[in-house]
Amino acid sequence: MMQGAGSAVCLGNDIDTDLIIAGRYLRTKDRSVWAEHVFEDLDPTLAGRIRGAVIVAGRNMGCGSSREQAVVALREAGVVGVVAPSFARIFFRNAVNVGLPVIEAAVSCTDGARVAFDLDSGWVEVDGERYPARPLSPKMVAILRAGGLVPYWRSHR
């Protein structure tokens, strides 16, 4: 959970959680529905091409609703991690809680570039160029390392 790599999918600023998963798809417990419709209102072709990808978003990634379906949709669709210069706070906390790596770093992005990150060492690389990543709090490191809040809870009780 602390390291990962994949090809870049570049997105813009202020990607809200409605764009990640629309309100009309929330009423189900079937996680595959969210993966199938992820980013549908932003770009309907994205869902089919983000498996194994690292999302490199702009500022204020994940703003809006607290819907955890947004981060679950990304994880279930096979996204390896999300890099952005800034995140909306609930999205950021939700991502860690479901075991989806989030990397706060300002990087320049080209679609298809090779992205690698190491949250233990605090860096992200895009096509070999290394950028510093803002460290996670110790609690968040512990949760992410466990694979999310549910496994963290189970191993600490």
């Binding site: 202020d14 409605d18 009309r24 204020n60 955890e68 609930i90 110790p138 809040l149 809870w153």
Partner: protein, 403 residues
């Protein structure tokens, strides 16, 4: 010299704290995932059910068999685990919690981003995700990073047709959609005393639209009087000169009716500049503007007239609806040709009852106008209640007259 967030959380800005929570609630949307996470965590007994609440508000009454089944499962879970349930028709969770539940100085978490609304009482209130909520229900506590604070200094008094929603839109426009990310907005200054509890709830509600963790008002005589009407005793919180990151000065007398245009809540123009904009629907309600004062203001403007565009009014709670019936406000709204729907979130999140069609334009009193939020291809403008009322009568965006 602490900020209100620092006082309530008991630690300086930047510190990480583990805190017991006083109230933790979820709704029909997030509660389903919270229940699922509790099952995966292997939690069978909740230690503090008296602090917990479930409120069905997002899709009420249920629109499909699937929604009904999910709600039935959650209803059963609430009963089995001793959690108080405010079932469909009770109202929006934040409004229900504002009706004699939340008190000054408490720590409140809700599995909904607009939980910041409840900071209006001088509580530290913030939104969390469903799995976070599961861990909170299982332990009664959670961790917080104490936020830095941006002070919003209010001076003067509102004038003309301007209302607290216009102040909220002005605030979002000046800070931007991420201008306060991870921070708290603390509303203070001599102008704060002139803003009612309903108005404070509206202002704190939109704090999250700037990325803020919460918005807070210091409890004062207005707060104490409001809570006394629910039989709750509370003490005022004396403001201190805080170590704030920055101060945003707003002279209430300068605020005019404003409108956020598609698809960004921080892209705000004067209503006057948008007068004549075509509308297909007007929506009045939500955790931003579905309170009694809002309905009464709307009714004053539409009384004895007819709306010229389809108009949907959704009271924020059963208590609001009931009071609007008792005072005749509801009759004015219905007689003006408006539809009135079940207390709850209504069409705000585009899930049911008032969804927009391709190319349709809605003027809404809600807090978000994200692309496609109320329906694919629909456009959302956000305004105050008075602007919505004047526009409903005109059938296009119109500037409300001074009251």
């Amino acid at each position: 010299m602490s900020t209100l967030s620092e006082r309530v959380l008991g630690a300086p800005a930047g510190a990480y704290v583990d805190r017991e929570v006083d109230i933790a609630f979820a709704h029909d949307g997030t509660g389903v995932l919270t229940q699922a996470a509790l099952r995966e965590m292997g939690v069978e007994r909740l230690p503090h059910p008296e602090r917990l609440r479930l409120v069905f508000d997002h899709i009420v009454p249920a629109n499909t068999g699937t929604t009904a089944t999910l709600q039935a499962e959650l209803r059963g879970y609430a009963k089995g685990s001793g959690i108080a349930l405010s079932d469909a028709g009770s109202g929006v969770c934040h409004q229900v919690m504002s009706e004699g539940v939340v008190r000054p100085g408490t720590v409140v978490v809700g599995a909904d981003s607009h939980t910041c609304t409840l900071g209006a009482f001088g509580a530290f209130a913030t939104g969390v995700g469903a799995t976070d909520m599961a861990a909170i229900w299982a332990s009664g506590a959670t961790w917080f990073r104490v936020p830095e604070t941006i002070a919003v200094h209010l001076s003067g008094r509102l004038s003309g047709a301007a209302e607290p929603k216009d102040v909220a839109l002005a605030c979002v426009a000046r800070l931007g959609m991420e201008g306060a990310t991870y921070r708290a907005l603390e509303f203070a200054g001599e102008g704060a005393a002139g803003i009612s509890m309903d108005g404070r709830l509206t202002l704190c509600n939109m704090a999250v639209e700037t990325g803020a963790k919460t918005g807070l008002f210091y409890a004062d005589a207005v707060t104490v009087r409001y809570l006394a009407s629910y039989g709750l005793a509370a003490s005022p919180q004396a403001p201190e000169d805080c170590r704030c990151e920055r101060t945003l000065d707003i002279d209430l007398a300068d605020v005019v009716p404003l409108v956020a245009v598609p698809h960004r809540v921080d892209t705000v123009r004067e209503a006057e500049d948008l007068a004549g904009t075509h509308l297909d629907q007007v929506f009045v309600g939500t955790c931003t503007n579905g309170r009694y004062e809002d309905l009464a203001r709307f009714a004053r403007i539409v009384r004895g007239r007819k709306v010229a565009v389809r108009t949907l009014v959704v009271p924020a709670s059963r208590a609001v609806l009931s009071r609007a019936i008792a005072t005749g406000v509801l009759a004015d709204i219905v007689d003006a040709g408006c539809m009135v729907a079940t207390p709850g979130c209504g069409p705000c999140l585009g899930a049911h009852a008032g969804v927009l069609g391709e190319g349709e334009v809605c003027l809404s009193t809600a807090n978000r106008n994200f692309k496609n939020r109320m329906g694919v291809g629909g456009e959302i403008y956000l305004s105050s209640v008075a602007t919505a009322a004047a526009s409903a009568i005109a059938g296009e965006i119109a500037v409300p007259e001074a009251v």
